[in-house]
Amino acid sequence: MPRTVRDVVFVDGVRTPFGKAGPKGIYHETRADDLVVKAIRELLRRNPGLDPKKIDEVAIAATTQIGDQGLTIGRTAGILAGLPQSVPGYSIDRMCAGALTAVTSVAGSVAFGAYDIAIAGGVEHMGRHPMGEGVDPNPRFVSEKLVDESALFMGMTAENLHDRYPQITKLRADEYAVRSQEKAAKAYANGKIQADLVPVSVRRTNAEAGETGWGLVTADEPMRPGTTLENLQGLKTPFRVHGRVTAGNAAGLNDGATASLIASEEFARENDLPVKMRLVSYSFAGVEPEVMGYGPIPATEKALAQAGLSISDIGLFEINEAFAVQVLAFLDHYGIADDDERVNQYGGAIAFGHPLASSGVRLMTQLARQFEEQPHVRYGLTTMCVGFGMGATVIWENPHFEGDK
């Protein structure tokens, strides 16, 4: 049977505001699955033309698939969100690139013709599920020196990356972080972020964390607008004495969920759904786990090669800011300036937060909005580093592209 690969598009994406993990965080008393449910329902409300019965899949990523993030959350969240029982779902895990992998997985199925439209997203409630919860690394990793012990601690891998690229100083990382906060604050002021957030009601019973009772979250909690270089320079380097990585030049520990609609372009057009981005290529790559922040570079190399593009063809970058050093390593590799305006226009995870498996769709949602505003840009990419030494990159085409004028 002859098959034709179909064009795959990013129809829409939403997310909950991100929260700070921990007892004082806004989501401390909110379940992870409920966060996913709110995002899925918002996606459906925003796209009333989509008959939920036509959804072929719900792929939801979570790194720690325990408790309210377990039980095949793609399936359970679908039922909880009120999707028809006929819509299946599954869970997915590639740590930080979970939601990104959910998107590429369903995209592959759409291209193949298995699905017409699917929901892909992710969640991480790092307050309810701290990093490393329930992990049981095989002792051979250490005994056979398969990886260095530092590979399990992301902050240490970031310090290792600083070692590899001595030109990436703490000062550069801090300067980058200050810019991320500035850009994020500006994006908020211009209403670029709020439009893709779903408000979440949150309960608080612990008076030490603030006013008690039900509240409503409409903005990201981790944001620190007005952060200065001086503020950052005084911070501790928890991963190494005299190190470079601080809470200020890295993403924090966060709670949040994202969801997106991925469809064949034909289906989207037939159902009058928006076409916000067109998938060009995607790639994953493995690197030494001790310097996992290097991952986006080989992943991007592969994705560009597949697409027959070069880095100069990319007009907009959404790079996950797990650590400033990892972004800077990528930029240095491609000879892009630290403050290049094509990169993370709305700021990044250093400001918004990085609830691990949810972040990939946040990058896409922001890139989609930038595409719409910048029809002169044809291609953009979303990329992120992944624990245990991986990188993930997706290249997108702007459907609003007006040609080379």
Binding site: K38, V200, S201, L216
Partner: protein
């Protein structure tokens, strides 16, 4: 507001055990850039199994919260105020424990005033107020929302009601006044009167919206978020909320008249609450809210100091608490598993029991009878009932298949009962027949199997007396209609052991029945009291009092039906049979009416004909009656009947038929439908002085089902 605060502080000192609800105030920005908002969350700090209530300290907390938001509203710091509840619960109204302890009229009056003074502030703030009915809302919970400018309701809300009239109160924190002014008198009467008197029927979220009580409805998954987005739209003027214009003309009076008709048909004028509520609804026609609140305060205080409410709360607690934890039941850990049920007999009663066991236990149920035709008929009945449930959508096809596969009928008891754990007989009411049936069953059933009898009047001990293992025989007396009446009298025979009894209680719980433990005494509880009651009516008729006078004499009790209508429902022949049984046991107190015997002999099924639409004495029955010439007044009849009932209950308690008077009342409420406002019957006998007159003492201490001394 210091006077309100003081009033509530004083009231809270009377009620130190209150589970206090906190009114949390939290501020945030609404979506759509609408502005700063204050949301009050009512939360008693427990999970949903202990719903949020309002006692005086809780009201004081809400009052303090309103102080805060009132100031913020006046200062322009917030643009609106909302109120909602903890997960699954909005608020379920006044704390009844706080009502029970009230002894003084002034304190009762303060309860009403306290609620009004706090709640009505929500309608007097400088900004609009919004109630978000997120979960169960009852009584004062519903009312606090009615004082708000707008309301939303969750589609997942499982229970919403103004149950005050059901208990013996009026919705007196604004309900009677505000609800008809919001949704019109007809719908208000339906919620306040009809639902209450219809076994406290609950509304679901969708109905709350359709009735117009809520302005918007949102699904449970993101109810609060969507309510707040809606709030933002309303506050920004993007949404116009339209409410229907209420007809304040004749329709109002008609609605109230309809309410009175409903009340009459349910309580027959015997309980004041519904009528007091209707009076306030009638007066609310003029739209004067304060006048309505004042009337509510007075009604509440009068009712709180009256016996009907105290009886109502007592009855409610019996059903909710004692009914779920039966007095005298052995430790439930002694219960043996029941994985297969046998039913001896395949007649109508046996088939109904088979259906009940099948549906609730979902284990194999085997019917046996003396010939294949009867067995087939019994199984056929169960299959037909399952099909009916399927047709009504109460069960799905899979469940229907499962249930049908579980029921079977055999002629050979050995084949049917060899692996049964619980075998119940529902054969002819004759001791010899029942003894033989049990002997046959014992020969084939496993040694551990419970042998239960649905006898209504025979001795369980006697039935067991010829068995090798009499310790496993229990009485399991259901009430007709089995699917409707909750009561199950569980009878302990002389030799019944704890394990068998515990198993019987465990089965009763699975059957969702209200189980009451009784001694193996003639006719157990309900039938004994009803027979004494009816017997005395029959006696006065036989002696010469006209039938209508005898019937009217007990109308003030507000029983579900008159004695002779009840006799018709039971069947005169069965009534006669039970009276004969009791006459044999207690010839000095239980008579066998010759007139009743004549009616039965003539093959009549009742005393009345209904040709005119109303019950009228059947001329053929009238012709059969041979009456004496002693004509009593209604009052004299009533005294005689109540005296007889009080005497009988006194004797039953002395004999230890049940543990306490509470069990008698629980039986009468759940097995005979005797009303809450009587508290079953002993609270009424106490408050009318009958107990004292007949037995020289009350059944219940002062303060139990009555105003404390």
């Amino acid at each position: 507001m210091s006077t309100t605060a003081e009033l509530l502080k004083q009231a809270s000192e009377l009620f130190p055990d209150e589970v206090v609800t906190v009114a949390h105030v939290r501020h945030f920005d609404l979506p759509l850039g609408a502005g700063r908002f204050a949301l009050i969350t009512l939360d008693n700090g427990h999970d949903h199994t202990k719903p949020t209530t309002f006692g005086p300290a809780s009201l004081a907390n809400l009052n303090t919260a309103i102080d805060q938001v009132e100031k913020e509203a006046a200062d322009g710091e917030i643009i609106g105020v909302g109120i909602t509840g903890k997960p699954f619960i909005f608020a379920v109204g006044a704390d009844l424990k706080g009502v029970e302890i009230l002894k003084e009229y002034e304190h009762a009056l303060a309860i009403g005033k306290g609620g009004h003074e706090v709640f009505k502030r929500l309608s007097q703030l400088a900004v609009p107020t919004f109630a978000y009915y997120n979960g169960a809302a009852m009584g004062g919970g519903v009312e606090v929302g009615l004082h708000c400018t707008y309301r939303t309701v969750s589609a997942a809300l499982p229970a919403f009601s103004l149950p005050e009239v059901f208990l013996g109160l009026v919705p007196g924190w604004g309900g009677c006044t505000l609800l008809p002014n919001l949704i019109g008198p007809e719908k208000a009467v339906s919620v306040i009167i009809e639902n209450s008197l219809n076994q406290n029927k609950q509304l679901k979220g969708k109905q709350v919206y359709e009735l117009g009580i809520a302005d918007a409805i949102f699904e449970g998954a993101d109810f609060l978020e969507q309510s707040l987005i809606w709030t933002a739209a309303v506050l920004k003027g993007e949404l116009e909320i339209e409410r229907p214009v209420i007809d304040r003309g004749e329709a109002w009076d008609q609605a109230v008249a309809k309410g009175r008709f409903i009340a009459d048909s349910k309580v027959h004028g015997a309980a004041p609450a519904a009528y007091r509520a209707l009076d306030i609804i009638a007066a609310a026609k003029n739209g004067d809210l304060q006048q309505g609140y004042d009337a509510e305060d007075k009604a509440l205080a009068d009712l709180i100091m009256g016996g009907e409410l105290r009886s109502g709360i007592y009855a409610f607690n019996l059903v909710q608490k004692r009914g779920k934890r039966p007095a005298g039941a052995p430790d439930k850990s002694l219960a043996r598993p029941v994985t297969k049920v046998g039913v001896v007999g395949a007649g109508l009663m046996a088939s109904q029991l088979a259906l009940l066991f099948l549906r609730r236990l979902e284990v194999p149920v085997v019917l046996t009878d003396i010939d294949q035709e009867r067995v087939d008929k019994g199984v056929g009945y169960v299959h037909a009932e399952i099909d009916k449930l399927l047709g009504k959508g109460r069960i799905n096809q899979d469940k229907a298949n499962r249930l049908k596969a579980l029921v079977s009928g055999v002629l050979d008891k050995a084949e049917g009962f060899a692996d049964a754990d619980f075998i119940i007989e529902a054969v002819f009411e004759e001791i010899g027949v029942k003894q033989q049936v049990f002997a046959e069953v014992e020969a084939v059933a496993p040694a551990h199997a419970i042998l239960a009898t649905n006898t209504s009047s025979l001795s369980v001990s006697e039935m067991a007396s010829k068995l090798k293992n009499p310790e496993r025989v229990v009485g399991f007396h259901f009430f007709n209609p089995v699917a409707v009446l909750p009561l199950l009298e569980i009878v302990r025979g002389e030799k019944t052991d704890d394990a068998s009894l515990a198993t019987a209680f465990a089965v009763a719980k699975k059957l969702k029945k209200t189980a009451v433990l009784t001694k193996d005494a003639p006719a157990f509880v309900v039938n004994r009291i009803l027979t004494r009651f009816m017997g005395e009516i029959q006696n006065v008729i036989d002696e010469g009092t006209p039938v209508e006078v005898a019937e009217k004499a007990v109308e003030p009790l507000g029983l579900p039906m008159s004695p002779l209508v009840l006799l018709e429902l039971v069947g005169p022949a069965i009534g006669l049979h039970v009276s004969e049984t009791l006459n044999r046991a207690f010839p000095d107190r239980f008579t066998v009416s010759p007139n009743l015997a004549a009616v039965v002999k003539a093959g009549k099924r009742g005393f009345y004909v209904y040709d005119s639409g109303k019950p009228e004495l059947d001329p053929e029955v009238a012709a059969l009656l041979k009456q004496g010439d002693t004509v009593l007044t209604e009052e004299q009849v009533r005294d005689r009947v109540l005296d007889a009932v009080a005497q009988e209950i006194g004797i039953m308690l002395d004999e230890g038929v049940v543990a306490e008077a509470q069990d008698i009342d629980l039986c009468l409420i759940t097995g005979a439908g005797w009303p809450f406002h009587l508290g079953g019957i002993t609270p009424y006998l106490d408050r009318e002085g009958v107990s004292e007159r007949v037995n020289g003492k009350r059944f219940l201490a002062q303060g139990v089902a009555s105003v404390p001394a």
